[in-house]
């Protein structure tokens, strides 16, 4: 593969997440994951693509501690973990402001501090002016922004994304991809992002990991050479197309 630009500048060696030979077998006997080795360091944005039901989401659940793996070793080097779900999972009775404050509230952060932190996060995701609105009055994209803001208040070192933009339309998704890249470059978290979309994966990440169908295994890994912040136009360059093509091939191979 040809490197057209330099890899991202911040490639420190701090490992925030490390999977070693991780496997997951559900009580009913289905094996969702087997032999997964994966490391995410500070300054990295790793995206996992794979067919439906290959255990991509399970990987995130293991990383976050929601579900323990049944084998292997999982090391998470930070307590500040952001988790963005497929749905915005906002509480419908709370305003945007109160929703964004929720995680800080659950962690016992005093009112004054969490109000300020929420305001900052709302500003960052471009929802300023919508603080007093209820989720039902927001569009899908805005709900997702609120959900992102909610996780940002934790100032996460490791940010887990479970297909957050899967339900959004193409334009909204692309815009949120750009915002996410901006957040990534500004906030310096390590990202682990699950998606179905190859182009989203290549566009967002420093590294794309391709998984096979069930039981999910990592079949191939691609380093993405484009510098941050990324120009939306790179999606239309031959280099981008070539890399996306390779990822698609790997995906197809793993699927059969």
């Amino acid at each position: 593969m040809t490197l057209t630009t330099e890899p991202p500048a911040e490639t420190t060696t701090t490992e925030l997440l490390h999977f070693s030979d991780v496997a997951m077998t559900f009580p009913n006997g289905t094996t969702a994951l087997s032999g997964v080795d994966l490391t995410v360091k500070k300054g990295e944005f790793v995206t996992v693509v794979g067919p439906s039901g290959c255990g991509k989401s399970t990987l995130l659940r293991i990383a976050s501690g929601l579900t323990p793996a049944t084998a292997g070793e999982t090391n998470v080097a930070t307590k500040r973990i952001g988790y963005v779900f497929q749905d915005a999972t906002l509480l419908p009775w709370r305003t945007v402001q109160a929703n964004v404050e929720l995680l800080a509230e659950l962690n016992g952060i005093p009112k004054k501090k969490r109000v300020a932190e929420a305001a900052k996060a709302i500003e960052l995701v471009g929802l300023a002016g919508f603080e007093k609105q209820l989720p039902r009055t927001l569009s899908g994209g805005m709900r997702m922004r609120a959900s992102l803001a909610r996780s940002l208040t934790l100032d996460p070192e490791l940010f887990l994304f479970d297909e957050p933009f899967g339900a959004l339309d193409e334009i909204t998704r692309e815009r949120l991809n750009d915002e996410l890249i901006k957040l990534f470059t500004e906030q310096q978290f390590a990202g682990l992002f699950i998606t179905h979309s190859v182009s989203e994966a290549v566009y967002l990440s420093t590294r794309v990991v391709v998984m096979s169908g069930r039981p999910g295994k990592i079949v191939e890994t691609f380093d993405v050479p484009f510098a941050y912040p990324r120009d939306p136009e790179i999606r239309f360059t031959p280099e981008f197309a070539e890399l996306a093509g390779e990822v698609s091939h790997a995906l197809r191979k793993g699927h059969s």
């Binding site: 929601l66 988790y83 999972t89």
Partner: protein, 289 residues
Amino acid sequence: MTTTAPPTGPVATNPKIRTMSRASDMPKRRGGRFPSWVPPVIVFIVILAIWYFVSYVLLDPARSFLVPAPHVIIEEAFLDPKVLGDIMGALGRSAGVALTGLAIAIVIGFVWAVAMSQARWIERSLFPYAVILQCIPILALVPLIGFWFGFDFPARVIVCVMISLFPIVSNTLFGLQSVDKGQRELFQLQKASRWTVLQKLEFPAALPAIFAGMRISAGLAVVGAIVGDFFFRRGEPGLGSLISNYQSRVQGPELFAAIIVASLFGVVVFLVFGWLGKLAVGRWYDYSK
């Protein structure tokens, strides 16, 4: 304009209807051609007409006291200060019983449901008894309750509680358990305690269901107050005793008046709880969903 093509009706000619598509703007089943109060009024008039027909045409004049005509009920019962006084006094006492019973049922039902929501084994041990309570023929139990608790206020309240408990228990439990999985995990990730989850997630999420249950129970509590009173005749009469008295003395108009007041009371309580529910959760929850 032709009337043979319904899709090109008022909806198509008024594009505004289409563009305003909030979740609350559910498609109306039929377009309202009249103001909303007109159809019920028409039904009311029809009912009155049937009533008069039964009273004057169907029934022999000697037996018309069985279904006295509406104006007779008004003249002989509602406009008679003595009768109206009796009925209103009885209504006050029955309302006291119903509301006390309902309040107790809400507290017990809520605690019961919360306990069941905390562990599967508690639910499995306690839910069958909620169902049994619901299935007991209350009329068969009322005399027993009288023997055990006397024939006064407490016994009447107990009948109310028994009859109105189940909707609170089942609705609250359903509400607490209907919380979205993602929202639960959100709390789980922050290592929120059970109490926090209950207080900040489950309870608010359950409020719409709780209010729906309270509305049903409110109507039942009114029925309970009257049924209890019907059997327990000690002390000043409530609506049940009054109905029973009028019945035994064959006072048709008075009997009907008492029944009408009892029904209206039930309707008012139902409406008040509907309104309270809207006030509490209408901001974010759409009951018409």
